[in-house]
């Protein structure tokens, strides 16, 4: 058991300094403003700047476009990006898919994409769910039909976040409709040239997409793993997204859980608000009921920081939803004011969190699906009748 700060040696401290300097230089107010306007979860210039440092694949050797960092340095980098709220959604999907590409892609495919991934020129999005699929990923209908050395893809993907900035989608297709639903799936790293991408905007201000494949032809070299064996390929990245990733990284505190950056900031903003003096000389922080509610959010943040794996995924979004609603209530009408408006609280942060939090319960599979995962895999309950 250990909750101390890490004792960093000189070279790691120097590395921290490099990270801070880098972020001060590249994660500018303009980058944040662009993200606020586009909701893209990605900034091309910032992403390429990361690539130039080898920080998209930080633990990869330098000759492969990485930075040769140890797992501790990589964890520090990732944590700092999260704490500063860098737009890294597309970086996240890209690296999530990468392990499957490395494991199951052919040599010519790897040659085609890996250098570009490392440099920031190539990004991957998740071509997972569909309008009629929701969280039941194995029910996908997008068809891939073989035609010699090519495949013809027809169908529609939904919530393909980042597609407009990506060159490839990690695509779940049905190649055999006549067998059990998990058994007829094939995975592709599908080039997105010529594919129709339509923007879908969310309550949280994010941009995601619908992507339409209309007799989209792709070479067989974009296939990952064997035909009809796609479900196994998919499980690696899916488990990582569900919070059941590898245990090799140093255990660093993730304050406030998965969406901690937003959540911790929301409490900080509310506490700052609570200390604003009112005309009678008092402040909200003197009110016992306000104090209790802020304390409850602080307790939630501590609990979220402590929740492991798929539990953490559920808790960090459900507490976030509850706390965001409570904090905006506490602040009242000023809490509704948007970023940049006169009199807004925390420059609109609570207003933003109150909307943004809702989507977090769906990302990577809904919290209900994750409850099934906990029930079946961790508590030994019988498989749910769904």
């Amino acid at each position: 058991m250990n909750f101390d700060r890490l004792e960093l040696d000189e070279s790691t401290r120097a590395f921290c300094g490099e990270v801070f300097d880098f972020l001060d230089e590249h994660l500018t107010e303009e980058v944040h403003q662009e993200e606020w306007e586009t909701g893209a979860g990605h900034n091309v210039a910032f992403h390429k700047a990361l690539g130039e440092r080898g920080w998209i694949l930080p633990t990869w050797p330098e000759e492969n476009g990485g930075a040769g960092l140890g797992s501790l340095e990589a964890a520090i980098l990732e944590r700092e990006l999260a704490v500063r709220y860098a737009p890294t959604i597309t970086k996240g999907t890209t690296t999530l898919v990468l392990s499957a590409v490395v494991r199951s892609g052919g040599d010519d495919l790897k040659e085609e994409v890996l250098p570009g991934v490392a440099s920031g020129d190539i990004c991957f999005c998740l071509g997972y769910t569909e309008p009629d699929v929701g969280s039941d990923l194995a029910a996908v209908k997008t068809r891939a039909i073989r035609d010699g050395d090519e495949w013809i893809v027809d169908g529609q993907k939904m919530f393909t976040t980042g597609a407009q900035n990506c060159q490839y989608a990690f695509l779940v297709t049905r190649t055999n409709p006549d067998v059990a639903k998990h058994k007829g799936i094939t995975m592709f790293l599908c080039p997105l040239d010529g594919v129709e991408i339509q923007a879908v905007h969310t309550l949280g201000g994010e941009r995601t997409n619908m992507v339409f494949f209309d007799s989209h032809r792709i070479d067989d070299r974009y296939r990952l793993g064997e035909v009809d064996k796609g479900w196994e390929i998919l499980m690696g990245p899916l488990n990582a997204e569900h919070g059941m990733g590898d245990g090799d990284r140093p255990e660093l505190e993730q304050r406030g859980g998965m969406y901690g950056g937003a959540n911790v900031e929301a409490l900080r903003v509310a506490i700052e608000w609570a200390h604003d003096l009112e005309s009678d000389g008092g402040c909200p922080a003197d009110d016992p009921s306000t104090r209790r509610r802020l304390a409850r959010v602080a307790l939630d943040l501590e609990a979220m920081s402590c929740a492991p794996g798929p539990m953490g995924r559920i808790i960090s979004s459900e507490y976030f939803i509850r706390d965001a609603a409570d904090l905006i209530d506490l602040v009242g009408a000023r809490g509704l004011l948007e970023r940049g408006e006169h009199g807004s609280v925390g420059n609109g942060w609570l207003e933003y969190c109150h909307r943004f939090a809702q989507g977090t319960a769906t990302y990577g599979g809904t919290t209900e699906v994750h409850r099934n995962i906990v029930a079946e895999r961790m508590l030994g309950l019988p498989r749910s009748s769904r």
Partner: protein, 361 residues
């Protein structure tokens, strides 16, 4: 985060000796305090044989610093101990007697040696009054009907008071040996452990320590009640399938399992900091206590309802947890009052240094 501040670790793994503490007491309580014993000891909620067996293991001594004649175990070890106590609902007032004995040990030179030695050895059972005593006004004291003496704050003094007569058990929902106790002030033959600021400091420490120990016990209760409900959900067949396959049954159990995991981890973290630097991360003890209290109540409540009609009968062991989740704690007052303590840390700290719980200013 400034350039000088490095990330915090979140390593919740137990050391080998901590695992052995957990395993030893898990085995001990499972063996010596089966649910049949818990039932046999109702309504008094006390078993003197079990108390004697724990004394043989020097359990109270574990909690007293070596400089004061104890064996000096750390807080992590102690919450691992109380988790197993709570999991089995063992009928002994462990948390009260530990904090009372620690207060006596810290009280110093004026404490008659035989009191301290016999309390550490478990020959005399001490308990603790959670609220400042008012002369002439009895207060409910946990384990008051079985304790030899009570540690209490009376006016400006921390005293060790015994009762002239045996006190009757007041029947209560938690099936604990509580009693109305009119605690005598220092002018009588009570032993004065400390006065003035020192007395208030020791009293506050005892209240804090009790909450930490009880957080462990409540984690154990959460686990004990959840295990019963999970077993039922796996085995009980209705509408042709095990009821645990219904999400309406399974998901509330998942919520309890999540509460359990978080409650345990906050408690361990609070205990680790109490060992490491008691002046640091103080908000963790009220956080752990409140979170674990709510987890235990939820676990017992969800459990009773998972068992359906049977869960509401006295035959069901789940009701034993339901009674005690509140029955072992309410002596200390409204659990939600912990939020006021947490607020003092959370809202105080931003005025002090602009930083909250490690969040960058």
């Amino acid at each position: 985060m400034t350039a000088t501040e490095s990330p915090r670790q979140a390593d919740f793994s137990l050391e080998a000796d901590q695992e052995s503490v957990r395993d030893t007491f898990s085995a001990f309580f499972s063996r010596e305090s089966p649910v049949s014993l818990v039932r046999e000891c109702e309504p008094s909620g006390f078993d003197s044989d079990l108390w004697a067996k724990l004394s043989d293991l020097r359990v109270i001594a574990m909690a007293v610093p070596t400089a004061q004649g104890g064996d000096g175990a750390g807080w992590v070890d102690l919450v691992l101990l109380t988790e197993q106590w709570g999991r089995t609902l063992a009928p002994i007032p462990l948390a009260e007697s530990i904090v009372a004995t620690r207060a006596v040990a810290a009280g110093g030179a004026d404490v008659p040696g035989e009191w301290l030695e016999s309390a550490i050895a478990g020959e005399r059972l001490l308990t603790f009054a959670h609220h400042p005593a008012v002369p002439g006004k009895p207060q409910l004291v946990q384990a008051g009907a079985v304790a030899d003496a009570v540690v209490a704050l009376v006016e400006d003094h921390l005293v060790l008071a015994s009762s002239e007569s045996e006190l009757a058990i007041v029947r209560n929902q938690g099936r604990t040996p509580m009693a109305w106790w009119e605690i005598a002030g220092p002018e009588t033959d009570s032993v004065v452990l400390a006065s003035g600021a020192r007395a208030r400091e020791l009293f506050a420490a005892a209240k804090r320590e009790w909450r930490l120990l009880m957080a462990g016990a409540l984690v154990g209760m959460t686990k004990g009640a959840l295990d019963i409900a999970l077993a039922h959900a796996r085995d009980r067949v209705a509408f042709g399938v095990p009821i645990g396959s219904f999400q309406a049954v399974a998901h509330p159990l998942v919520d309890v399992a999540m509460d359990l995991e978080m409650a345990r981890r906050i408690t361990w973290k609070a205990a680790w900091w109490a060992d490491r630097d008691p002046a640091c991360e103080h908000q963790l003890i009220p956080m752990a206590y409140l979170f674990a209290e709510e987890a235990a109540v939820r676990s017992a409540t969800v459990g009773v309802h998972t068992l359906g009609g049977v869960g509401f009968t006295v035959e069901a062991d789940e009701q034993l947890f339901f009674r005690r989740a509140k029955g072992w704690t309410l002596m200390a007052g409204d659990p939600l009052a912990e939020l006021d303590v947490i607020a003092d840390f959370v809202l105080g700290s931003i005025r002090d240094n602009g930083a909250l719980l490690g969040v960058p200013a």
